[in-house]
Amino acid sequence: MLTLPHRPVRIALSITLALAIAGLIIAVLWAILAAATDTATPSRVDIPHLLRMTSIQAGLTTIFSLAVGMALAWSLNRLRFPGRDLVVGLFSAAIVTPGMVVAFGLLSIWGRNGWINEASKAIFGFPLGNPAFGLSGILLAHVILDGAFAARILLARLDAIPASRLKVGQSLALSTSQRFRLIDWPAMRTSLPGLGAIIFLLAFTSFPIVLLLGGGPANQTLEVAIYSAVRLDFDLVGAVRLALTQIGVCAIVILLASASTNVIAPPHGGSTTPLWRDGAFARALQWLVLALSTIGFVLPLLSVLIDGVTGGFGRVLVQPTFWWAFGTSMIIGSASAALTLVLALALCLGRSASSGKALRTLLGTPSFAYLAVPAVVLSLGFFLLIRNLGLAPERAAPFVVIVANSLLALPFAVATLGPPLDAIAHARGKLIRSLGLSGWQQFWSVEYPLLGKDIGLMLALAFCFSLGDLGVIALFGTQDFQTLPLMMFRALGAYRGNDAAAIAAILLIGTILAFVGLPRLFERIAHARG
């Protein structure tokens, strides 16, 4: 560990940021407690039952998503075919699309009137049943959202394996399983704890999907109880208590993940993968995985696109409000993406420069803050904080939304940038020290050129998260300040299902474009410089 360059400024910056995020969460909870009155009826919640149900659901989601993600990343890394970038873009699009959109896409494939049951009726004369509701429905939807995301992140790790390493492996004539064990697995392993934690937390706090597909109050999350405490019972003390319970459970998962990502990734290098095909059986398996994933992941999204185009596409595009919301979404998305990049770099550069296990664990936690704190508590807390500062909520709204969206994207950004930065620090630390580079020179001439594609992917992620977010904006949006998801949500609430479908399709197209375009763009910019 002595090879790490000495970077006190980076470490200090990231510690400051970590403390600031912790302080923000404490301030949010404190503001809510301060506003609580004792006239509220305490809400009655069976917390152990909820924790048990939610943990089972989230645990299964995590296992399935990681397994599917690894299989898919492995297949995509090996296969080359026309439209591959588009497929990769579609896979990435799932997680940042509003959950509702994905859930309804899923239903149009798997539901009672979905494509699969319709096909079965046409071919066999009877429907296959309806797996889209209950625990199976929740898991299906979550694996579509999270498995495809895991695949995207893991694919980036596999694609980053240096050509030299692959050449050695190829000359040693490694078998498919040896290649996976010796080359692929070490590259993916460092990303798994972070990814697993993200997926677990997403599933643990997933609210609309669990309610929509859960089939009833038996399958519910703590967030529902918290929402009820805040809204219906107005039991703010109870809400904070429930929020702390959720934060506590999440903190265990986060600490475990953060502590176990100390494994250092293999050297990182941007390279074009040389052609090294696996054996015939493995290739058949890869095509099968790809075909199944395409049916599972791409069809629901495709149905969203088709619904949108056949619905009110033209009608939406001529509305001035649509373009106003479109512009707002673009600006908020770009600002959130930029802020996320700054925050993620501050955290990851500090973490990659520190060698102590405790410090690394500590610096790994704040990025998860947003996932652990229930959205309704966060937005209520923000609202109260802004009022306590004497600002009008309407005026502060755009800034709150940008900060909230950045925090939302932060764990994904850290999962994207963290492992490669760690790898660079370890592989090139000695060189950097011997050249006596300053922190700034280290970033500008070593890290930035190598990170180009990852920064692009991270910006695409953050931009799209903001583009699809319906959390904080739902509370802070006004008539004059609305984003596309909020406009979609409002259309859906006013019988305007066709408008909503069209906006959903437009969001999806924007997301796919961002995912296909931004990583390429940034790789080019970084290479032009480096």
């Binding site: 009833g216 109050p217 600006i331 800034f399």
Partner: protein, 334 residues
């Protein structure tokens, strides 16, 4: 790059500074739920019609939900900017009244055409509809005529409802079954359980599931078919009328005591509850007006079948028991 960043910043600050107050005109700030203030909702049309009359500005501030408006003024207390709340309903009126934040409206509301007599001193009704299950005549030829007929149908006849803790109709159904069946409510819920496909957070999700054919019926309003008739020329979506009678949702507005524009606020309420204000409501909020509009009522509404019996629960009863009733429902369908 720098130019586009500074442009973006300019737009951001522009956005945040938008609620521009015309200095020379009094402004009424009205908290409402977001659908009401939406461009296709009643808000913009009400502004256009009332602003020339009062020589004032209406500033609509949308919260994410009806109950969200109440929680917001509760949090803001006496420092709230709101002069009025538009969009509470009879299920939460009792709780809203108990906060002591609302002033008496002082209006004589003689012309109302509501399914029940109106004696409320604080809240003025502005639209109503009965909760009901929607069905599609192409898919369901003989809809159930009561909860008990619905329960007796095969289990694969599916309904979608909303969580009473997050959606107004969800709470409405709890009150409906309680008003119709009293102590037998939990038995009815247990009977409904096999038919419940899912319990969604929002009305819109249930309704979409129903329109997509995932469920045979969705909990909504007797006025919902009017949207499909008027906007889509579709006559196949109908409300199933139940023999037990139906529970109404009456949406109300109230003036906050903390408002420094009591007179103007009351002038708005009086106008809003008159036929001038009411004629805007049906085809923007898809609810019945609270006065008889006669020939001005859109034919899509005039032809809608109405329940023969309207059920009623008192404010006090709801305030004291709604939590227990929700628990009863959750326990029965769990």
């Amino acid at each position: 790059m720098v130019k586009s960043i500074s442009m973006a910043l300019a737009v951001l600050f522009g956005l945040s500074a938008l609620p521009a107050h015309a200095q020379d005109m009094p402004t009424l700030t009205i908290y409402t739920y977001d659908g009401f203030a939406a461009e296709w909702g009643p808000g913009p049309q009400l502004s256009a019609a009332f602003e020339p009359i009062c020589g004032c500005r209406l500033n609509w501030v949308a919260a994410d939900s009806s109950i969200g408006t109440l929680r917001r003024v509760q949090l803001e207390g006496a420092t709230t900017e709101a002069d009025l709340i538009v969009g509470l309903d009879t299920a939460i009126a009792g709780e809203a009244r108990a906060t002591g934040l609302f002033a008496d409206h002082g209006l004589t509301l003689d012309d109302l055409a509501l399914p029940e007599a109106w004696t409320d001193q604080q809240f003025v009704p502005f639209d109503y509809s009965h909760f009901a299950f929607m069905y599609d005549t192409d898919r369901t030829t003989t809809p159930p005529k009561s909860f008990e007929e619905l329960i007796a149908l095969p289990d694969d006849f599916k309904i979608v409802i909303q969580d009473p803790r997050s959606a107004t109709p969800g709470l409405g159904l709890v009150l409906w079954i309680k008003a119709a069946y009293g102590d037998r409510a939990s038995e009815i819920w247990a009977g409904l359980k096999p038919h419940i496909l899912t319990v969604t957070r929002e009305w819109s999700e249930s309704y979409s599931l129903f329109l997509d054919g995932e469920a045979d019926m969705a909990l909504s309003y007797t006025t919902s078919p009017a949207y499909h008739i008027k906007e889509e020329g579709d006559e196949t979506i109908k409300a199933a009328l139940f023999e037990e009678g139906h529970y109404p949702q009456i949406e109300v507005a109230g003036v906050l005591k903390s408002s420094d524009q009591q007179e103007l606020a009351k002038q708005f309420l009086a106008w809003f509850a008159s036929s001038e204000g009411q004629k805007i409501i049906p085809t923007t909020n898809w609810m019945f007006p609270v006065v008889d509009l006669g020939a001005d009522l859109d034919p899509a509404f005039a032809g809608l079948p109405q329940p023969e019996k309207t059920l009623h629960l008192s404010d006090e009863d709801i305030l004291a028991n709604s939590s227990a009733w929700i628990d009863e429902m959750l326990a029965a369908v769990q």
